[in-house]
């Protein structure tokens, strides 16, 4: 990553203003990053890397997007840069802090309720209270609050991952990728939403 050979960037920048280019949303990287993130939160028990479930609309999940001008790509840095530092990363301290908090919350509060079927993964990448009657009344309040906290964290993660990559408009795709990944990483017996219906993995 370091020691990238110096280049006359300023000159290059001056030469190539006002050009619009098409690049592709890096779905593979997003999925991989999402998988790492999700597995860290849910825990490392089993679950080898597996493809997203059949809900993936077109298999690859590649979405063509028109992005803002990136001069580095023009002068040949883009590809090398992209290989060494995938565009989808989750390295900022804020996101790592959220991830740690989510991991703690998942193990401390949410996991048993996924096991019991009270909670499920919604198709929007959030946690949904599926069957509140499976919980004691007092727990229902605590779980509702934990779910609200977790969903706030999730929204912030999806947003910040998009922004940290310089593409705030990717937020929805990133959310979709995560939604599929939560389901893919879910343990057997947990519930998830598909097309409005609940299914058990």
């Amino acid at each position: 990553m370091r020691r990238l050979i110096g280049m006359p960037i300023l000159i290059a920048l001056a030469l190539c203003a006002c050009v619009t280019i098409n690049v592709y949303f890096p779905a593979a990287e997003a999925r991989e990053a999402a998988r790492q993130f999700v597995e860290k939160v849910i825990g490392d028990e089993a679950q080898p890397s597996q493809p997203a479930p059949a809900t993936t609309p077109n298999g690859g999940g590649m979405v063509q997007r028109e992005l803002r001008f990136d001069p580095l790509a023009l002068i040949g840095i883009g590809s090398a840069y992209a290989q060494e530092q995938p565009d989808i990363t989750i390295r900022t301290p804020a996101i790592q802090a959220i991830q740690a908090r989510m991991e703690q919350r998942f193990n401390g509060t949410l996991r048993p309720h996924f096991d019991s079927g009270a909670l499920g993964f919604g198709q929007d990448g959030l946690v949904v209270v599926r069957d509140a009657s499976a919980l004691a009344i007092k727990d229902r309040v605590a779980v509702n609050a934990a779910v609200a906290d977790d969903n706030r964290d999730r929204k912030a993660v999806y947003r910040e991952i998009a922004v940290a990559n310089g593409h705030p408009e990717w937020e929805n795709q990133i959310r979709d990728v995560f939604a599929r990944q939560w389901v893919a990483s879910a343990r057997a017996g947990w519930w998830y939403q598909q097309g409005g219906d609940w299914k058990q993995k």
């Binding site: 110096g6 309040v141 310089g166």
Partner: protein, 671 residues
């Protein structure tokens, strides 16, 4: 009715020849007191000379439609005998369908009917007298509430009783021409019930209630409930009420609506100083609140979070919010959501446990109406926002067609200067639209020293002023038009394109573009303890993004510009600090070790740029120099040139090094 059947059977036994010891009566339909029995077979077997006979009663079906009870294949078998007082008495097992058997005892005389139904410790006794044939008196003793499930389902189809026992007298009146009436004084213990979807629930509730239920024929039912709740918990949607500790007086009048659901013309809840409510409401068939018109009052707001607000505060991420003072509010909701609010606060304080905000001494009124126009005024004594203290403010408000506005600008003393709030508007969430707010800000001479201290930055002098003609809050995003101007380091920093996301939520972010004009470099290096450099600094920090108050992205370019009368010198210590932070190596006309011989050097210009992205700072300087980039271009003799070679710098490492420099514990390697 049973008495008459029994009398007929006994008469038949007497009249019939002695050898015929068994009589049977078949009745297609028996109707009494709103209870319908079908295909009833009564068989009495009385051996000649015996003291008692054997009675068998069976009904194919029993319906008590008004109470929602239906039984099939009901059988009762018992020894029938005449007591010394001349009563007929029979006691034996009662079976219905596949239910567990119960024990039914019947005692008949010409004046009274007594019955007792029991299973385990649970017992219901029934009394009727021929003098008052329309009145049935029940006495319940440790009766499981589950037995009342059918009755509850009549009123609330989605309700499920899951636990608890009942005790107390119940009087049922079934006069022919008047409505059915049930008057009960019940003691409920450990009541637990639950709606089908789990959104409404009651757990472990104790209560002493007087229930008055009237069911006119062909008309809606009326219920009046009056009593005391003691202990237990209630959940209604996101509202969670924990009643432990103090009893609550309740009064509820209910009227069943024709199309399902209930009108609640009177609703009263008295929980002492914590909360009292009076009002009316309407509930839909599924228990959802249609309409609410209620006046609430709390003389001790500190009791509210634990007893009433924990559900909502948890959802809002404000669990453990500290509240104190007193407040009252009249709230009216209708089909379109919130219609009016009239609230009054007395000495209210709010404290976020995570110290994001604090308001003390909140007083005054807040009035909101979805239609029309009302005025009110709020004041507070002081507060704090993310460590920044502010003083008293007076907020004259007007609610106009559903939007709350400030009637005149409000000013607030803060950090030695003044902040004025202009044109504030707030529109509560309505339907699908979330809360929206807009305001203008005037900021006059805030003390940067106090600001930097409050935010835990190295302390530096200066003032912050500016005007933000309009700021908007919507969808958890706060956008500012206009800009701020910071007078600091004998120069000016302009802040533009300011916005915040999730200002009070998870990982609050702040974005801005900064332009630096003619800053005194010497003061900057002094504040940050970075050797000493004289000169004037200019530059830009574009696309600055702080997440959780930590920089995660920016595109910065800083350089010096020569100004008449300003010497441009850089101290030896500053050179070493730059080299240790920027991982630079010296290219000088002298040997590196000779640097130690000089206290400072003249320079022609200094320039450095960093584009932070993804925790990597891509650095450049004044211009390229071979494989590297020049950061300091020296002047005079010795001519100093500082050249950086690492263009992609790990940002956390860079920050560590900067922090180490500020602490003065670096010893740069000089080649």
């Amino acid at each position: 009715m049973p008495r008459r059947i029994l009398a007929l059977l006994l008469l038949a036994l007497v009249v019939l020849p002695v050898q015929a010891r068994t009589t049977t009566a078949r009745i297609e339909r028996v109707e009494a007191s709103g209870v319908l029995l079908r295909d009833v077979v009564v068989r009495l077997r009385w051996p000649p000379g015996a003291a008692s006979g054997e009675l068998q009663v069976a009904a194919a079906r029993i319906d008590a439609a008004d109470f929602g009870y239906h039984f099939e294949r009901v059988r009762w078998q018992c020894p029938l005998a005449r007591t010394a007082q001349g009563h007929w008495r029979c006691e034996g097992p009662l079976r219905a369908g596949d239910h567990a058997p119960m024990r039914l005892a019947l005692d008949l005389s010409s004046a009274t009917t007594d019955a007792e139904l029991a299973r385990g410790a649970a017992r219901i006794t029934l009394q009727r007298t021929s003098a008052a044939p329309d009145a049935t008196r029940l006495e319940l003793s440790r009766v499981p509430l589950a037995w009342a499930q059918a009755l509850v389902a009549q009123a609330w189809a989605a309700g499920r009783l899951t636990g608890g026992t009942l005790q107390g007298p119940v009087l049922i009146e079934t006069p022919a021409a008047r409505p059915l009436r049930v008057d009960a004084r019940l003691v409920l213990s450990a009541l637990a019930l639950e709606s089908q979807d789990g959104s409404i629930a009651v757990g472990d509730l104790g209560a002493r209630l007087r229930v008055d239920y009237r069911q006119p024929t062909g008309a809606a039912a009326l219920v009046a409930i009056d009593g005391t709740l003691d202990g237990g918990e209630l959940l209604y949607g996101n509202t969670y009420v924990a009643l432990a500790g103090a009893p609550v007086q309740v009064r509820l009048d209910l009227m069943q609506r024709a199309g399902g659901g209930w009108d609640v013309p009177r609703l009263s809840w008295d929980d002492g100083d914590a909360l009292s409510l009076d009002g009316s409401a309407a509930l839909a068939g599924d228990g959802a609140l249609h309409r609410l018109d209620v006046a609430a009052r709390s003389r001790r707001l500190d009791a509210l979070p634990a007893r009433y607000l924990s559900g909502w505060l948890g959802l809002a991420g404000l669990a453990d919010l500290g509240l104190s003072g007193a407040a009252e509010a009249a709230v009216r909701t209708g089909a379109g959501g919130l219609a009016t609010v009239e609230a009054r606060f007395e000495g209210v304080s709010l404290r976020d446990p995570r110290e994001r905000f604090r308001i003390e001494g909140l007083e005054g009124d807040l009035r909101y109406a979805r239609e029309g126009s009302v005025d009110s005024e709020l004041r507070w004594r002081r507060g704090q926002l993310y460590g920044l203290r502010f003083d008293a403010i007076r907020l004259p408000l007007r609610s106009d067609a559903g939007t709350l506005r400030l009637r005149e600008p409000a000013t607030l003393a803060m950090l030695g200067g003044q902040v004025s709030l202009e044109g504030f508007t707030l529109r509560p969430a309505q339907g699908d639209a979330g809360l929206r707010a807009g305001f203008g800000l005037g900021i006059d001479s805030l003390d940067l020293g106090a600001l930097s201290k409050a935010l835990g930055w190295p302390e530096f002098g200066g003032t912050l002023s500016g005007r933000i003609p309009s700021a908007r809050y919507a969808d958890e995003r706060l956008d500012f038009d206009g800009g701020l101007s910071i007078q600091a380091f004998d120069g000016r920093i302009d802040v533009d394109a300011l916005s915040m996301e999730r200002p009070f939520g998870v990982a609050p972010t702040l974005s801005a573009d900064l332009a630096l004009h003619d800053l005194d470099l010497l003061r900057i290096t002094e504040v940050f303890d970075f050797g000493s450099i004289t000169g004037r600094l200019h530059g830009r920090i574009d696309g600055l993004r702080l997440v959780d108050w930590t920089a995660t992205a920016f595109d910065a370019e800083l350089h010096t510009e020569r100004r008449r009368g300003t010497r441009q010198r850089i101290s030896q210590r500053a050179v070493q600090d730059i080299s240790s932070v920027g991982d630079a190596s010296f290219v000088t006309s002298l040997q590196g070790r000779l640097i130690g011989l000089f206290d400072d050097f003249g320079y022609q210009s200094i320039g450095i740029a960093c584009r932070l992205e993804n925790e990597v700072c891509r650095m450049s300087g004044l211009h390229s120099a071979g494989n590297g980039f020049t950061i300091v271009e020296g002047a005079g003799v010795p001519k100093l040139q500082v050249v950086g070679f690492n263009r992609d710098v790990d940002w956390p490492t860079l920050l560590e090094r900067l922090a180490a420099v500020a602490k003065g514990d670096v010893s740069p390697v000089v080649d």
